[in-house]
Amino acid sequence: MSAARYIVIVVIAGLSVVAAALGAAVSADPAHLFRTPAAYAEIARLLHAGTPVGELDSPRHRLINRAFIDSLDQAPETVILGSSRVQPFSPAEAGWQRSLSLAVEGGDLGDLLYIYGLLRDRALIPARTVITVDPYIFAPDSHLLTRNGKHASLQRIVGLLETDCIEDFGSQIPLSWLAEVLTLDYVLESLGKLGEGSSDQVRFGPDPELRSPGFIKRPDGSVLFSREIRTRSAAYVDDYAATVLDHPVGRGLAFTSLDPCKTAVFQAFLDLLQHDGTTVILAMLPYHPTAFRLLESDRAVLAQVDGFVRQLAAQRSLAVLGAFDPGQSDCGQTDFLDMHHPKQPCIERILEPAVESGTRQSAAAGQ
């Protein structure tokens, strides 16, 4: 065989793989970049109608939130942003009026920006925005989750932030859906979905009895974790936290100092929120007491985040609620679903001043 023919075969074989990858990605569309299934609009409709929806696969909260925000007809009073750590908190159960939890599992700095960006794009700026700050959003090597067609909205809001770091930060966001689709993970996910033979079906259904073994999305956007998780005893949770965190492979925050670019972006985000006129409340949720004790080597970085958050709040006259240290947050052994997911009462006690301050502000505005 001649060398020229050899090179032609290399090129054809290579391009075939790219074409096949694109074909699989478009056909399977696992992140719903090309088609948003009607199911998500239906889930949003059910939630707006006050019906909890069960049997959801966890990673699709971002899509549900998008559909949910798309179908909002007026700005919420309060919006809660954060990760799965605040998802169990139900604003409705706490008596907060017209308030939504838009937290997503593994919610990172990009998610905070993205979800607020969706509200902003639709001129639905809430009166109050509660941001529950997780330490890992400032981790240097954490990358942004850019699934589910977040690119356009994320690029838009990132473009509004005023910080020198934005180029670095923006470079972590794929430039387009193509950059996301042409990745091995996405191709494998697409092939897996094609292999399952399923189309765009989403397993869900109204579940007022809460019989679902999986996650349940409530009408206020909060998430009821599975029964298996909800019914854990305090002793089990204590033992579980100790076992997981004491295991050398599974422990720790895996970073020791805050990424200067991510902290700069966070500050710029707060500036944007304040510029938009929403009242910003920063909150830090505690870790399980046993987990906090075992996270000994991470105390320094937790203290850094705590100090950074309080410094930002002081500079901008923002309220800060809670702390990572359970001792400072009035949350005990029985207040946790696992090592770092507090239960409703614990979160409610922490966020209570937020609703009080909001009520006062609303009342003042009404007068």
Binding site: S2, V10, G14, Y136, T183, P248, R251, A254
Partner: protein
């Protein structure tokens, strides 16, 4: 710029190849070499422009010394050159280490200076020292400045080797033809694809597990179990091999595409049947440098086993220290030195009457692997305590461990993410599979250069030397595309830090 980045593969490389090969095709060979030299400096500057002055300065000073030596070899001039090169390397790489250790010995404290290690300094220092020494020992034709600059800065080998000798590269630069060598280009594309696949499919897949286990050893010294410690050590054993040999394959492949042949850096090292054999297969160009410019000048085998052992130990300790300014690297080198000396003693006193049987070969490979894996623990761990914690786990002092097999559940992953991204809280079966694949690859499959029949000393013939060319070409194309798809988050090569 990383070889395994979109910027390099989709922008820098196609533009450079197009311009260099086009100029050459048009008969403008000299301009193509100048352009290649410029592109190499751009490649370096894109990574860290602050040190481009250091690289260019080092090239200029060494060029002046080599020019003087080529006119009249003088030992003192060589020593000045070596002192300048080692002085720079010592300042950037070892000043903090030495300061801390002297301060510790003196019982004082040492304020760590803010010294950034310039990329590639360890490699271009050795390369230039080798030419200085050669030029002081025997007459060397004075190269053109552009050719010398290209020899040192040639981007495929600049960052992490192979450590090329002037005799291997300068004649090629001088005699590069205007004809585009399509046979070499085809071989280069295949080697580059293989290297990229090694890096992204194997090294980067094993890295997270090795990282988690070794980081765990640093944090909780007492509780690393036998299984996880061994899997972590094996994960690194293969990570470093596929990372570095993948880089070397890519470097050789890139050079071939540009019409140059670089020396081999690996020859199936994990098939080695002894530790001596291992060093004849691992990082060949470094071993060659240490042998020719350190071991032999020290006396080599002269004087019997005692002096030879001392020479081996010294060379391996220095070789260890070359990798980084930490006692762990020194221990790693020392361990290899001890194993090589023991190997020599074994050879001397056990005697060789007949060829080894399959069984003894298998046992030899296993023993060599065990020795290499144990030594890697010091190489990878960040501290002596971490190394000892790993070894304690590998010795079973903490029991078997609490590893659970199977895919982590979504909720486990969410929890891990919430804790900071250590998503490997649960050992999943993929690690076992990857290690099994890695063992099969290093023990059964031929080395990359054997697949394409690459011989650094040969010239390209008219016919492709690749066996089963159609299948190899198709697999190369598929592999290249798959590797490109897997490049969403390029990671650095391990040897960049040295």
């Amino acid at each position: 710029m990383l070889f395994n980045s979109y910027e390099f593969i989709l922008v820098f490389l196609p533009i450079t190849l197009f311009l260099v090969l086009s100029l050459r095709r048009l008969g403008m060979v000299s301009a193509s070499l100048t352009l290649l030299c410029g592109a190499s400096l751009v490649f370096y500057a894109v990574w860290d422009w602050r040190f481009i002055g250091l690289l260019v300065g080092s090239i200029c000073i060494n060029y002046l010394l080599i020019s003087a030596l080529s006119a009249r070899p003088r030992r003192w001039l060589m020593w000045i050159g070596i002192a300048v090169n080692l002085g720079l390397l010592g300042f950037f790489k070892y000043a903090t280490f030495l300061g801390e250790n002297f301060a510790a010995l003196a019982g004082g404290s040492f304020e760590t200076p803010d010294i950034v290690l310039p990329l590639a300094i360890s490699f271009f220092t050795l390369q230039q020292i080798s030419m200085l020494v050669d030029a002081s020992l025997q007459p060397v034709a004075r190269p053109r400045f552009r050719d010398y600059a290209l020899y040192v800065s040639f981007f495929p080998q600049l960052i992490a080797g192979p450590i090329v000798r002037h005799g291997e590269m300068l004649p090629q630069i001088r005699s590069i033809a205007s004809r585009i060598d399509l046979v070499a280009f085809a071989m280069g594309v295949t080697l580059f694809a293989m290297g990229l696949l090694k890096k992204v499919a194997l090294a980067d897949s094993l890295k997270p597990y090795a990282d988690v286990v070794f980081n765990g050893a640093e944090q909780t010294a007492a509780s690393l179990g036998f299984i996880e410690a061994w899997l972590g050590a094996l994960a690194f054993h293969f990570q470093i091999y596929f990372d570095f040999s993948g880089y070397s394959d890519m470097a050789i492949g890139l050079a071939l595409m540009l019409g140059f042949r670089l020396p081999l850096n690996f020859n199936a090292p994990y098939k080695a049947t002894s530790i001596i054999d291992f060093w004849r297969r691992w990082h060949l160009t470094l071993s060659r440098f240490l042998r020719d410019y350190l071991y032999i000048p020290l006396g080599g085998r002269r004087g019997g086993l005692g002096p030879q052992s001392a020479n081996i130990m010294l060379v391996m300790l220095i070789g260890g220290l070359w990798h980084g300014s930490s006692w762990n690297f020194v221990i790693w080198g020392g361990l290899h030195g001890v194993m090589i000396v023991a190997n020599h003693l074994w050879r001397r006193f056990s005697g060789h009457s007949r060829g080894p049987s399959r069984a003894t070969t298998a046992v030899s490979v296993l023993l060599t692997t065990a020795g290499v894996v144990l030594a890697w623990v010091f190489f990878r761990a960040e501290s002596l305590d971490g190394s000892l914690a790993m070894l304690a786990g590998m010795a079973g002092l903490n029991g078997l461990g609490t590893v659970t097999l199977g895919e982590p559940s979504l909720f486990d992953l969410a929890q891990s993410v919430a804790l900071g991204g250590s998503a490997l809280a649960t050992l999943d079966a993929n690690v076992l599979l990857l290690i099994a694949i890695a063992f099969a690859m290093v023990w059964v499959l031929p080395a990359s250069q054997e697949i394409v029949n690459y011989d650094p000393a040969a010239r390209s013939g008219a016919a492709l030397p690749i066996r089963y060319p159609a299948a190899t070409a198709a697999l190369s194309g598929v592999g290249l595309s798959l590797a490109l798809l897997a490049l969403a988050r390029p990671s650095e090569f391990l040897y960049f830090q040295f």
